[in-house]
Every structure is written in structure tokens, then in C-alpha cells.
């Protein structure tokens, strides 16, 4: 299972607590993880990436294994620790405030 963490607003919107567990088939990439996330929680469509272009929203970042993956290709394989479920794929809202 792929572990995904969501920012609080999106957890509330999706009516979930804690991490989300997803079954992802095929190669584990940002695109396949987000496809699975949106299929499981359709109310999140458009909140992480644009509904038409599938580009990451400007104030949303992706982290995993202490790396910033926000600017990686959506089709690049994610670290093996994500694929094995050892580490979560973290969807984070950019920090606001001082």
C-alpha cells in the first residue's frame, strides 16, 4: 500500500484522519499516486493539481524521504521507500504567515 499524507484542509474535505492508504497499480510515480488518490477521494479532484492540465497547484508541494519532489517529472519513479510503504508520500500546503 502507498501511504499518503494530506494537509489538514484536504483531510477534512476527504473526511479522513491520519494517512491515506492507496493501492496503486503499475509504476509508482506522482501521476499514478495522484490518479489513485483522486479515484479513491474524488472530492480532492482539482485541489492538488489542475483538473485539466494535471499540473501541480502553485502552493502545493510534494515531499518524500526528506526530499522535495515538487519539481520532479510527474512520471518519474518515486523513491523505493514510497513504493514499499516504508515512507509516506507527503502532500503539503506551502507555508503561509510569518
Amino acid at each position: 500500500m502507498i501511504r499518503v499524507t494530506l494537509p489538514p484542509h484536504l483531510r477534512k474535505l476527504a473526511h479522513v484522519d491520519g494517512e491515506v492508504l492507496l493501492t496503486v497499480s503499475g509504476e509508482i510515480t506522482q501521476r499514478t499516486v495522484l490518479d489513485a488518490l483522486e479515484a479513491r477521494y474524488p472530492m480532492l479532484c482539482g485541489t492538488v493539481r489542475d483538473q485539466t492540465t494535471h499540473r501541480r497547484r502553485a502552493f502545493v508541494r510534494f515531499f518524500a524521504c526528506s526530499q522535495d519532489l515538487s519539481h520532479e517529472s510527474p512520471d518519474a519513479p518515486l523513491p523505493n521507500e514510497i513504493a514499499t510503504g516504508a515512507e509516506p508520500f507527503m502532500i503539503v500546503g506551502a507555508i503561509a504567515g510569518g
Partner: protein, 395 residues
């Protein structure tokens, strides 16, 4: 006995204020959608329990919410009719609503750019829904005014949205540019006697009218004079802040422009100034008494660079003559050290026999008058900054 429901959108959630017809004891429900910006909520005139809300966030985008029970419960209206709105596991099923600009050659001229603040071409980018206007005859039909400026329509209760592309495509779209708050379509008025006629207004492009339900549009800005644009009497480019109409006189429009309070007696074909004796004619809101089509309300703001009341005194001004002669309404409003703003969609009237008037401030107060503005009380004082106020008279 009738009651009143006041729908309040704020920077950090929605609030629903209810009272009986006396309008003295208020119940406050909320925050709904806590932490999200709620630009606007509005109820259907046909079914008062059908409410639509625009929930948005600079981080996570646009969500449309709908209530079918007067705001007690909400859902994203993407679930097919007849199906449960929740999965067997209890999850909401609806997807967020898509607002995709129409660039097909069949329905409108493809438009790719408007003007940016510096006059350079800028691509059209959807940001949020500013205003939701339910149809006057069908609770499932609702219009959405969005930023970057465009008009969308849903005929399935908010489940799917389609742009009325003739507005952006009528010719002047490439010359529109944003005001300080963004390039937003903020005012939508449907003519109750002619459903094909719709008025809209955009900051900072101006006012527009369709006679065929949104297929074709024309600018209606003749008579506007805006000294802050290169050609002060240009066909488009005026920063219209809000427009209002009394349903009994759909050809008469009132406008609060960036500066100037204006009136049209010919459905927008021409405008004339009615600022009269106002202490300043800058402002955002304008509204009309529910039963007196010549009674108009504004809240003068000091200037375009100082968005607060003149002299620290929060005053609503009322004209009973359709403009020019204005009287300050101050009883119950702070008359010293008040430096809040009242944003363009943050005033509303109810339709009880003694017309109620409501407005919200960026300081989080919602003021109510149960006597057409003679006296005011704060229903609530410490909400997040108020973006919009709508009033429903519930049978």
C-alpha cells in the same frame, strides 16, 4: 410566520444567522467550511432551502458546495441524481466542480489573453468563483461569476458548469484588465420579467448585458467617466464595483463605480451620475430597498487608497429619491475610530413588510436594520473579515 436567514461569507468560513420576523434575537451557525475563503453564498428564490456556496483557497482551489436543507448539511453537488451522496464506507462521492474556459470555435471565439496590470497580454487563468446567482425560476439553474472574468452556468444543480463564452468572445475581452482585487466577474442580475436578459459587471472592464440568455453580449458603459484610465469614456475598462436593480423596475440600474454612484434608466444604454451630496462617492456596495424602488443604499468609503469610512464614522447613506439626495444613517453604527471596509457583495435586503437591511465589514461585524436603515444593531461583532452578505426571507 416568516423568518430571516442571513448568509455570511468570510475569509475563514461561512456563517448562517437566523431570526424571526422581529429580527431581534439571532442564532448563529458556523463556521461552515472553517478555514476556507467563502466568497459568496446565495439561496434559490424558488426553493429557499437550496443554497449554493463558493468555497475556495489559494492553496487548494475551488469547491462548490450545495445545501438542500437551508444550510444544515452540505455536499459537493457532483453525485448523479438518485444516487447516494456517500459511498458505502460513508465517503462523500462528489468530485470538485470543474470550471474550464470554453475555447471551442463552435461556441465562442477562442480567447487566450486579457491585459495584465502593465498592459501586456496575460493568459486567462481560473482562480475562484466570486458570485453565485441562482435562477429565479429553477433551483437547479445557477450562474457563477469567476476570476479571471467569465460567466458560467449550471443547469444540474451545480454538478457541471459550462462557460457562456459569448461574453469573453464578444470582442472587447482582450482589452479587459484586473482591478486591485483581481479580474473578477462579481455582479450578476437576471431580469425577472425577461429571463433572457442578464446584466453582469467586471472589475475592471465594466458592465455588460445579454438579451439572449448569454449567447451574445454588449458593453453598457456609456456615460461612465473614469479619470484613472487612458480614455476616461472608453467603451470598456471601467472599474465597476457593484450594480443593483429593483425587481419591479428591471430597466433601472444603480451602480457603485470605483468613484461615482451612477444610475441608468434604460437598462444600461446610458448612465448618469447620482452622487449628489455624498461626502465621498467612492465605495463598493449598493443596494435597493425591497419595496421602494427609489430607495437606494450605499456605504461611502474615503478613497481608492484609503479603504475605510471618512472621518472614522461608519455611515450608510440612503436616498429616497433614486439618487442625488442622500441622508446619513448613523444610529447604532460606530461614529468614531472606525476603519473597516464594506466589500462589494456585503450588503443585502430582506423582503419583510418592514424592509431589513444588512451589511458586513472587514472587521467581522454584521450590522442589521429592521427598519429600513433608521437604526442599526450588530448581529455579531467578531467574525473573520466579511466578504459577502445575502438575506433570505423564509416563509
Amino acid at each position: 410566520m416568516s423568518s430571516v436567514r442571513v448568509l455570511v461569507g468570510t475569509r475563514k468560513g461561512a456563517f448562517i444567522l437566523t431570526a424571526d420576523a422581529k429580527r431581534t434575537d439571532w442564532k448563529i451557525s458556523g463556521p461552515h467550511f472553517a478555514g476556507w475563503e467563502i466568497y459568496h453564498l446565495k439561496g434559490s428564490a424558488v426553493d429557499p432551502n437550496r443554497l449554493y456556496a463558493s468555497q475556495s483557497s489559494g492553496w487548494f482551489g475551488q469547491i462548490i458546495q450545495r445545501s438542500d436543507d437551508g444550510g444544515k448539511t452540505w455536499h459537493q453537488p457532483g453525485t448523479p441524481e438518485g444516487e447516494s451522496t456517500r459511498t458505502p464506507e460513508g465517503m462523500p462521492k462528489a468530485e470538485s466542480n470543474k470550471f474550464v474556459y470554453d475555447t471551442s470555435s463552435e461556441t465562442g471565439k477562442p480567447l487566450t489573453t486579457h491585459q495584465w496590470y502593465d498592459g501586456t497580454p496575460h493568459p486567462w487563468e481560473f482562480k475562484r468563483v466570486w458570485h453565485l446567482e441562482p435562477s429565479l425560476t429553477d433551483p437547479d439553474i445557477v450562474y457563477a461569476g469567476v476570476e479571471d472574468a467569465a460567466l458560467f452556468r449550471s443547469s444540474d444543480g451545480g454538478r457541471t458548469w459550462h462557460e457562456l463564452a459569448g461574453l469573453r468572445g464578444h470582442g472587447s475581452g482582450p482589452h479587459w484588465q484586473p482591478g486591485a482585487g483581481g479580474m473578477c466577474l462579481h455582479s450578476i442580475i437576471v431580469d425577472p420579467t425577461n429571463p433572457g436578459r442578464i446584466f453582469i459587471a467586471i472589475s475592471s472592464a465594466g458592465a455588460f448585458r445579454t438579451e439572449d440568455g448569454g449567447k451574445t453580449w454588449q458593453p453598457i458603459n456609456r456615460g461612465l467617466n473614469s479619470q484613472y484610465i487612458p480614455n476616461p469614456t472608453a467603451e470598456v475598462g471601467h472599474c465597476v464595483h457593484h450594480i443593483a436593480m429593483h425587481p419591479a423596475r428591471p430597466g433601472i440600474l444603480f451602480m457603485q463605480k470605483h468613484w461615482d454612484v451612477m444610475r441608468s434608466d434604460d437598462a444600461g444604454e446610458s448612465w448618469h451620475e447620482i452622487s449628489g451630496n455624498l461626502p465621498t462617492d467612492f465605495g463598493f456596495v449598493i443596494d435597493v430597498h425591497a419595496h421602494e424602488p427609489n430607495t437606494v443604499y450605499v456605504v461611502p468609503i474615503k478613497s481608492d487608497s484609503e479603504h475605510f469610512p471618512l472621518d472614522g464614522k461608519l455611515r450608510v447613506y440612503r436616498s429616497r429619491t433614486g439618487g442625488n439626495d442622500w441622508e446619513p444613517l448613523t444610529k447604532g453604527l460606530p461614529q468614531n475610530d472606525c476603519y473597516v471596509n464594506v466589500l462589494r457583495d456585503a450588503m443585502a435586503v430582506d423582503s419583510l413588510e418592514q424592509c431589513g437591511v444588512y451589511f458586513g465589514t472587514t472587521g467581522g461585524q454584521v450590522y442589521a436594520s429592521a427598519d429600513a436603515g433608521d437604526t442599526w444593531t450588530a448581529i455579531v461583532r467578531d467574525l473573520p473579515p466579511v466578504v459577502s452578505v445575502e438575506a433570505q426571507t423564509v416563509p
